[in-house]
């Protein structure tokens, strides 16, 4: 390959455009832009591979999870009782109201149940009662329990 080879000439011309010894500050700035781009291209390509890997893994994980896992989403992390919430959805009419009785440190559960049972409205005076880790006895004998489980979660209805 001689110095007059067209490829060599093109490369020399291209490199000449980013020669930092060119007139100040043009040469320095162009060299800076070229260096800037080299870092960006390198970093972008490395992390492109990682991003596609990560997204592929996520896609596989999501595809292998079951319907309930997808439907409950954040509820899985909270450890909510899926069966209890599904029963509540089934028993309480879509435009009905309910009252949720939970322990004192259960703000997240309260928020999650409100989200999951939409469009049913929370109402402290509602006939439907979802007793989530509470003592159903405090509601008296009038509560008609329609569903309960061993974890102490109960769904019932008060008269009226």
């Amino acid at each position: 390959m001689s110095r007059s080879d067209p490829v060599v000439v093109r490369v020399r011309l291209s490199l000449g455009r980013i020669d930092p010894r060119m007139e100040w500050p043009r040469g320095f700035v162009r060299f800076g832009v070229a260096a800037w781009l080299a870092v960006t291209v390198l970093l972008g390509l490395v992390y492109f591979g990682r991003a596609v890997d990560r997204l592929g893994g996520e896609a596989t994980r999501n595809a292998t999870s079951n319907f309930d896992d997808r439907a409950f989403g954040g509820g899985n992390a909270l450890g909510v009782d899926k069966e209890a919430l599904n029963e509540a959805r089934g028993w309480i009419p879509a435009r009905g109201t309910y009252r949720l009785l939970v322990g004192p440190d259960a703000a997240d559960v309260r928020n999650y149940v409100r989200y999951f049972l939409m469009p049913r409205r929370p109402d402290p005076g509602a006939a439907w009662v979802l007793c989530y880790g509470c003592d159903p006895a405090r509601l008296g004998d009038e509560l008609e329990i329609v569903w309960w489980d061993a974890a102490g979660i109960a769904l019932g209805r008060l008269p009226g």
Binding site: P25, R26, F28, V29, R30, G32, V33, W36, L37, V39, T40, V41, L43, G44, Y47, F48, R50, A51, V52, R54, L55, G56, E58, A59, N62, A63, S65, F67, D69, R70, A71, F72, G73, G74, G75, N76, A77, D108, N111, Y112, R114, Y115, M118, P119, R121, P122
Partner: protein
């Protein structure tokens, strides 16, 4: 999670694209169908902003938001664009015009990489559960309340967390539910994929004829593969939506500063309104853009300032009705409890707040080197002799960082130094806006640096 939901969502987004295309034609005009194809992402984002702002206003005045309302709003937006175009004498794009439509090696290769990336994001989001806390705690419940009760239900909008947060994203999510035929919170992630794809296409479409492909695509890809963007851009909440609107508004204002096309400022105004109606942080970011534009246009202030003020004023006017709605219902939480002067009682906070913000901005595990490289690009453009663009960019970033410090300083319930998990860290969320802004501004800065000054920037 069904094909019907996906199909409905796709049709809904095509309608939004149509409305945005008409608005774009009215505001900007289109010389060819090739130009329309190039700007289709931008048209889509105009449609998203227009629909979001319009639905927010309809919710505030009590218009029931149903499927018909969403469709009619899109039709009204399209008609508005067509009427504007007729009034301004826009020509329809000619059916046959010889236009060169070729992709260079860089554009084709990077275009392929970005296509692979967005496809991977789609697959990851397609069946993703709604796991993110803010999503199920209030953003999606607000959307469901709009979907089920056709408006700003007094009970839910009062009881759900952050009742003063604006309704644009819940309104768009409710529109997506209508398009899907049910409140499908799994497929809802695909709607956010449309937003991400629209943003990427918008930035690429706007900048492709203005900067060399080698300056555009590597920057865009670097922003897209930043770990935080990869992990969280499809979460059904408002953070990335705010970032898209802010970045597009700031990019259009930058273009206006060097090209002086009226449509750029008009559309920027719409995106600023969108940002302000997306999250309360949008007001802070919009103020940064307006102030930076005012300072950067000091040399032409007689011409520029009334126009910038008008654009900012129009955006603000569109955001005011929501503020009236929530203040009339005595909902609070918009500003620090200590008021505007309260932070001065806590003078021990600014320094650790600044440290926390800088740490969040420079976190390699979140944003790679996007922001340090942005700083370098500003310096190179300044050194090359450009003035308007680097000054504007430095001011937007500088004012935004100052604003973030103020947020940490004034909300005294936030402990300093701020080391909260990045998933719920509000400063990390705010930083995303500056990172996405870099996707649009940095190619312009590098172009100015390469060409050597502001004069070259005016060539189009």
């Amino acid at each position: 999670m069904t094909v019907r939901a996906l199909l409905g969502l796709a049709i809904g987004n095509v309608i939004v694209l149509g409305a945005g295309g008409c608005l774009l034609w009215g505001a900007h005009g289109l010389r060819s169908w090739t130009e329309l194809a190039r700007l289709s992402g931008f048209a889509y984002m105009i449609g998203v902003a227009g629909l979001g702002v319009a639905l927010s206003l309809e919710l505030v005045v009590g218009v029931p938001v149903r499927l018909a309302t969403v469709v009619l709003t899109c039709v009204a937006l399209a008609l508005a664009g067509l009427i504007l175009g007729r009034l301004l004498g826009r020509d329809a794009p000619p059916l046959r015009r010889r236009v060169s439509f070729g992709l260079g090696l860089v554009s084709a290769s990077y275009g392929a990489l970005v296509a692979v990336y967005v496809e991977a994001v789609f697959r990851a989001g397609r069946l993703a559960p709604l796991s993110n806390y803010d999503g199920w705690a209030f953003w999606v419940p607000k959307a469901e309340a709009i979907y089920f009760f056709e408006g700003l239900d007094e009970q839910f909008f009062r009881e759900l967390a952050n009742p003063t947060y604006p309704p644009l994203v819940p309104a768009l999510e409710a529109a997506a539910f209508h398009a899907m035929g049910s409140p499908d919170v799994v497929t809802l992630h695909v709607q956010f994929w449309f937003f991400l794809t629209g943003f990427v296409a918008a930035v690429a479409g706007l900048l492709a004829p203005r900067v060399h492909a080698a300056l555009l695509w590597p920057v865009l890809l670097l922003v897209l593969v930043a770990p935080r963007v990869v992990a969280r851009s499809l979460e059904p909440q408002a953070d990335f939506m705010l970032d898209y609107f802010f970045a597009l508004a700031a990019l259009l204002v930058a273009l206006w500063l060097v090209e002086r096309r009226a449509w750029q400022l008009n559309v920027a105004s719409l995106f600023l309104a969108g940002a302000m109606l997306t999250k309360r942080d949008g007001q802070l970011l919009a103020a940064c853009v307006v102030v930076a534009a005012l300072v950067a246009s000091w040399g032409a202030r007689r011409f520029a300032w009334p126009r910038i003020a008008l654009a900012g004023g129009c955006a603000l006017a569109l955001a005011v009705p929501w503020r009236l709605w929530f203040t009339s219902r005595e909902l609070h939480g918009e500003l620090p409890a200590s008021g505007f002067l309260g932070p001065f009682d806590h003078l021990d906070r600014p320094w650790p707040a600044l440290q926390s913000v800088v740490r969040a901005l420079l976190d390699f595990e979140l944003w790679l080197l996007v922001l340090p490289l942005t700083g370098l690009a500003i310096a190179l453009a300044l050194l090359a002799g450009a003035r308007v663009l680097p000054l504007y960019a430095a001011l937007v970033y500088g004012l935004a960082v100052t604003g973030f410090v103020w947020v940490l300083w004034s909300f005294t319930q936030l402990e300093l130094p701020f080391v909260q998990d990045e998933g719920v860290n509000p400063i990390v969320r705010l930083c995303g806006s500056l990172v996405l802004l870099s996707a649009g501004l940095v190619p312009l800065l590098l172009d100015a640096a390469w060409r050597g000054g502001d004069c070259a920037e005016r060539r189009r």
